[in-house]
């Protein structure tokens, strides 16, 4: 299975957050727990969805990643933009 991390947006301000092994939600993808098996991912998603139900986060979903030089990089551009912010400086 491709390696996966779990992400969502924080309910109160919409910020992108990533779920750590300890079950915390952090804006920093480097803290995200990497799930290498289907069982790990299923368990992680179940816990994340419980956080969604309790109103901490919304839009829980898994994201395929690769690691390069210790960095976690989502494979899809959409998730890389979510992790790093807009690719343009605004206004």
């Amino acid at each position: 299975m491709a390696r996966m991390v779990i992400t969502a947006n924080r309910l109160r301000d919409g910020a992108v957050v990533w779920r750590s092994a300890a079950g915390n939600w952090s804006p920093n993808i480097t803290t995200a727990a990497i799930h290498a098996t289907g069982e790990q991912l299923t368990a992680g998603l179940a816990a994340a969805l419980a956080d969604e139900k309790s109103g901490r986060v919304i839009g829980v979903h898994e994201v395929e990643i690769e690691t390069r030089g210790g960095q976690i990089l989502p494979t899809r551009l959409r998730e890389r933009v979510r992790a790093d912010g807009p690719t343009v400086s605004f206004a």
Partner: protein
């Protein structure tokens, strides 16, 4: 401009208070996201990639200077110091939090603004010509009619859960500057045989994955019957429109499936029941609304001499005057387009500091009024010609005087994958790179009127189908791919652009557009617009230049 009465004021204040309670119940867990989402969307609050985004309604694009200052305060206090003007003549704040939204709605209500019906399956902000009321070619000012539609459609109970969103545009001049052909309903004003106000009604236009031009449903609708006829159309759509498939639920699909004649029969049958109801507009009521759009007092004796002299003396001013001024019905005046498209900049973005500065300029030069255009620019509509040079210098110092209205760097772009949760590719960086590259070519060759619109997904928020050159960003095999359409127009000669061929990668798209323009320059007749050349010669020369002649057999 329109001033809120007691009813309007009560409505927006109560709405803000109501939303405050809904947010509190969401945060406490009393409401689930499924329950809350339709409520927040009704108040213009989306969840985008990085944050919540609040879309604020600017009815028919009209703002007072004090409203612009309020938007600047909101941008500073609750966002990151800027806002983004949209193709629906609205403004979006990209970085707001859920917890602050009710406060923002309070601040908006204090200046007679709101975010009602800027999202959701309801009737959205009615858009119109940015030169409404002042255009020299105008039949009648469409804004009072847009305001009548706003009052009728706001919280209309029957149309709160339509099959899909619904957009109306109204244009008051023979030249279409409101893109009525690509709206769910397009209204084009005209005079009846006895000089009375009426509308030609178009229905079933739209973009997205199934672009269609609107079809005429009624050649002449008397003004007094406007609301009953709109209600009849909406009622037929509400009952007959599909709700089983998101992509087939717009009215264009219904009109296409039934055929315009059958659809018209259903509407006329419905209309017969309600034409003489309370929806009939009394002359007194129309006059009451019209009075709120009285034009400011103009000086009838403006000396145009200094304007002509300055154009002669200053080439940069002359260039800006040629590109960004629009003929005014009042002699000695002009409507000025304030470009939000600096070369290499982000289309439609504006900092809070510039919003404040422009509000001051509106007070000084244009009777305190500002309009937002569907091309993501702003307009000062009442400027004396003898003060244009001073205004231009002030705008230039704010980097708001790019002379590019309807030119190749006046690019319309949606937020794209840098912000939007629906996007499949980025729009803004492509717009920036194109703008920087094409500005040089325009400088050398004077490309004239040439529109480029870039949408970051098939929902087509940037109206790429009706640009002379349209660009649609998709995701192909994990990478951005940009599909090019040629030959679109949203003006009186409306047409849907045709796909030229396979898409281009993010690192190829600027060169591809440059190839199209260079090819055109070789076959262009003197002074010809790109669109007219294309209609004359067809797509083949452009396809050959992009893909080689061998591709013809593919």
């Amino acid at each position: 401009m329109y001033k809120y009465d007691h009813l309007d004021n009560t409505l927006v204040r109560e709405r803000a208070a109501q939303f405050r309670g809904q947010v509190a119940r969401r945060i406490s867990g009393e409401l689930s996201e499924d329950e809350f989402k339709p409520l927040r969307l009704r108040n213009g609050l989306y969840l985008q990639l990085h944050s919540y985004m609040l879309r604020v309604a600017i009815p028919y694009g009209l703002l007072s200077s004090s409203q612009m200052r309020a938007l600047a305060r909101i941008a500073r206090r609750y966002d990151r110091g800027y806002g983004h003007f949209t193709t629906r003549q609205n403004i979006q704040f990209n970085w707001v939090s859920l917890e602050n939204t009710a406060e923002i709605l309070d601040d908006l209500a204090a200046v007679e603004m709101h975010a009602i019906q800027t999202s959701g399956n309801c009737i959205r902000n009615t858009t119109t010509d940015q030169f409404a009321g002042v255009a020299a070619d105008e039949i009648e000012d469409p804004r009072p009619w847009a305001e009548i539609i706003r009052q009728w459609s706001t919280l209309h109970p029957e149309f709160s859960f339509l099959p899909r969103k619904f957009k109306i545009a109204i244009n008051g001049a023979p030249n279409d500057r409101a893109a009525i052909a690509v709206h769910d309903i397009g209204l084009s004003m005209l005079r009846g045989p006895n000089g009375e106000t009426g509308f030609t009604v178009w229905v079933g236009g739209g973009l997205g994955r199934t672009p269609m031009l609107a079809k005429p449903i009624r050649d002449f609708l008397p003004g007094a019957d406007l609301l009953s006829y709109l209600e009849a159309i909406l009622r037929v759509f509400n009952i007959e429109g599909r709700r089983d498939n998101l992509y087939k639920s717009r009215i264009k699909i219904l009109v296409s499936a039934l055929g315009i004649d059958r659809f018209r029969d259903l509407v006329e049958a419905e209309w017969a029941h309600i034409r003489d109801s309370a929806l009939r507009l009394e002359g007194r009521e129309i006059a009451r609304i019209r009075a709120r759009f009285a034009l400011p007092p103009y000086d009838a004796n403006v000396d145009s001499g200094p304007f002509a002299a300055k154009r002669f003396e200053d080439a940069a001013f002359a260039r800006w005057s040629a590109a960004n001024l629009f003929p005014h019905k009042q002699p000695g005046h002009a409507a000025v387009t304030v470009s939000l498209k600096p070369v290499g900049g982000i289309p439609g973005d504006m900092t809070a500091d510039r919003m404040d500065a422009l509000a001051d300029l509106a007070d000084e030069y244009s009777h305190g009024e500002i309009r937002v255009t569907h091309r993501q620019n702003l307009v000062l509509a009442h400027v004396r010609q003898d003060r244009l040079f001073d205004l231009w210098r002030a705008l230039d110092s704010l980097e708001l005087a790019t002379p590019n209205l309807m030119r190749v760097t006046d690019i319309i772009a949606c937020p794209g994958l840098d912000f939007c949760g629906l996007a499949t590719a980025r729009s803004i960086p492509v717009a920036q790179r194109l703008s920087a590259r094409l500005a040089e070519i325009d400088e050398r060759h004077d490309l004239g009127e040439l529109t480029i619109n870039i949408s970051g997904c098939i929902n087509s928020c940037a109206h790429h189908h009706v640009a002379h050159i349209g660009i649609l960003g998709l995701e192909k095999a994990g990478a951005e791919s940009y599909q090019v359409t040629l030959g679109g127009s949203s003006a009186k000669d409306a047409s849907i652009g045709k796909i030229i061929g396979r898409g281009f990668g993010a690192d190829e798209i600027v060169a591809a557009i440059e190839t199209i323009i260079v090819t055109w320059l070789e076959l262009r007749h003197d002074g010809e617009r790109f669109l007219d050349s294309l209609r004359r010669v067809g797509q083949t020369p452009f396809r050959d230049a992009l893909y080689g002649q061998d591709s013809r057999t593919e």
